[in-house]
Symmetry: C3
Subunit: 333 residues, 3 copies
Amino acid sequence: MKHFLTTEHWSHSSLQELIDFAVELKQNKFQPLLKEKSVALLFFNPSLRTRTSFELGVHQLGGQAVVLQPGKDAWPIEFELGSVMDGDAEEHIKEVAQVLSEYCDLIAVRAFPKFKNWQEDRQDKLINALAEHSIVPVINMETITHPCQELAHIMTLQEQLGDLKGKKYVLTWTYHPKPLNTAVANSALMIATKFGMDVTLLCPTEEYVLDEHYMNLGHTYSSEHSNQLTVSHDIDSAYDNADIVYAKSWGALPYFGQWQQEKVIRDQYKHFIVDEQKMAKTNNALFSHCLPLRRNIKATDAVVDSKNCVAIQEAGNRLHVQKSIMNTLMNHS
Amino acid sequence: MKHFLTTEHWSHSSLQELIDFAVELKQNKFQPLLKEKSVALLFFNPSLRTRTSFELGVHQLGGQAVVLQPGKDAWPIEFELGSVMDGDAEEHIKEVAQVLSEYCDLIAVRAFPKFKNWQEDRQDKLINALAEHSIVPVINMETITHPCQELAHIMTLQEQLGDLKGKKYVLTWTYHPKPLNTAVANSALMIATKFGMDVTLLCPTEEYVLDEHYMNLGHTYSSEHSNQLTVSHDIDSAYDNADIVYAKSWGALPYFGQWQQEKVIRDQYKHFIVDEQKMAKTNNALFSHCLPLRRNIKATDAVVDSKNCVAIQEAGNRLHVQKSIMNTLMNHS
Amino acid sequence: MKHFLTTEHWSHSSLQELIDFAVELKQNKFQPLLKEKSVALLFFNPSLRTRTSFELGVHQLGGQAVVLQPGKDAWPIEFELGSVMDGDAEEHIKEVAQVLSEYCDLIAVRAFPKFKNWQEDRQDKLINALAEHSIVPVINMETITHPCQELAHIMTLQEQLGDLKGKKYVLTWTYHPKPLNTAVANSALMIATKFGMDVTLLCPTEEYVLDEHYMNLGHTYSSEHSNQLTVSHDIDSAYDNADIVYAKSWGALPYFGQWQQEKVIRDQYKHFIVDEQKMAKTNNALFSHCLPLRRNIKATDAVVDSKNCVAIQEAGNRLHVQKSIMNTLMNHS
């Protein structure tokens, strides 16, 4: 059995196969590939796109989805092995995994970091424990990476640009009033380098560089394509001649859990907003974002509403790639 | 493409057609009119009837519904154009509209007023922005009007009374411990006058008269049927010889957002409760209410449990009119 | 019309028939027994297993489920007859029952006690009022008993042990940091005695004995099988030669609503945890629990992870017994 926890475990070609089948599903949305199958969608954090696209995707393939929100509709859940459960959690992930495996043929889970301690959060214990104890495949709907978004992102770029090899790809940090998850940034770094793009990570200071695990993967994937992964703090050179600008905000890892200290730094970089002046420096670049996007904070109305913005198309493609992933996990592994 | 935002945009005859098809659907509940269609049900406020009847209605027509609760299960949403999104909202209605249009074939939305400033609320910006940016039809599941309730109400009255023209219709304000939305009152005023009934709006004082937009529509529709829309503060004459009593509580618009001041006034009019003594003055009138209804506050147990009460039938008819509306928007516009 | 409110209303043989059909459904999960039927799942309290198994079960039988959470997604609900509804509740259970009966063919409800006053809670007013006013069958998804769990429990024991008559069954109280519902304990007592097992209720003191209504039923059912229902506070003799150990925590009824006083007592009995030492005294007993289960509080990891633990199997069987119950209520009563 194969899970879809992070694209790190999947080869470039196997990911391309997932995208290729997603393209087919986009043409022919209704196929009984999940007939008499049940899918549990487990949300520890809120969602609009992910929820809608998974729930509808399951049904379009003839299956049945059930949406669970532990801590809201259901019990809070413990995920440390061996723990004496005298706190808030009423149930252990081990039982959750095993019980959902009794009822369902696939489990998808969203579980954001707790934002207190990155050394804890970076281990992604909840989804890993779930996958370990589940007897059915598990899909990551965003934890410390967001692999479904990665596939939708690449699918969209391929629809727009064809072969992506050698394209100049800028992953730019942007301001946001709160410290956000690095998941989509980690994901963008991995997938853009894996698909052979020439990647620049633009961020205000060294403190905003991503976790070394993802940086190392980015360097490895880049070198496999004879590319170089560049970290830059210079807006002008980063945007210069870019083919793709992907925007995301995230909290600086050295200040993880000490967000008041980080906020003082972050507040100095509101000018990282993606605006028309910056986009004018590019090679008529595509702009995208994983959504939700705070307008006039992360990007200006002019950029978001321009014809170069493919964020909606990318969101739409979530439906198709997720159906492709579910089909592959349930029927081909 | 046509939305169903307010009955104001629909002619008397087109609304009658919607009801006529609802009558057919009540006889033959399962028809594949929404086969391979997906519907997003977007609830900014809680619901029991609307949620149940829409969700089941979609399925009875062969479609798929997804229920979203922004700010609970999903992100809070901004709906002002051009705003700098540095507050709570993580996402703009423009993206919500466009993304849901990617996934779904129809969007239904419930978004109550914020109850701070009627000059703001009366513009019904959220649903109007959603409809503007959506590329699929939008249905109003209650904002500052409640058009689905209107059709269920008229369908029920027609089932009971046949032709409604000239019937004496009393829309009575009742007490409620909180200031409530005027939506159902606005709706009742519009639909009762549009369908040719002789309407009396019974309320404690001039301050409880509805927004001039709806009052003006009521006068216009009344005059088209050579009727007169009457505002009354006299319980006895209002109930006298009534054929229909429709009860609703609402907050007085002049005190909108200053509810402590209004409460002092409102508390003096608890005797507007619909009781047996008042109903005895009528022409054996039907009683109805949109539900939920606080028993022995808005109406006595004796009235609610009487054979003249058609509130349950009206609630039941929500299912059928909504299926009719969805079918018309998706297949005939 | 027949409801499924408590097994007290169902004979031993009629319950065995429900289980027998559940065994068939376990082999053949997809049968159109609820084709064109709609089921409302009304949750006043959170759920993971019950929600998932009911929602999927309805769909596996070809029906449609709608999940409602009054007070969260929907309005808070009043259930006293004749009450003047000037508190929080916006709606009366009478209208809820009647409206849901308009939309649905079956209503299932979870409504835990309020934990203030056992004399109130033990009357189970909400579900009884719902059943009284509903014109469609009502199923108990846990109130002050948990009859669906009972059937899953017995089904599991029969799968493991065959005929249960005369087996030594220990229902053991365990510690939990909070005072919990007695529902599953009441249920275990009723069903184990009804199915002819030799039942020992093991609890710290007389104060933890269950409500006399359930104790009396346990004694009656026991005597019908020429068994004796034994109350014990001695761990060693209770576990001695047991065939089944079923664990559950609950609050002591004499301290109902005065939980600070009870906590002092309860905290002295953490050693009631089910561990390997205790299990070693048994006749290689099966261990089960209704879940959720706090590991290393109610039972040790070693017990929960042992091959003798059938809690997951029991949870899985919830799906099948509930489908059987729904089929029987809708098609055979």
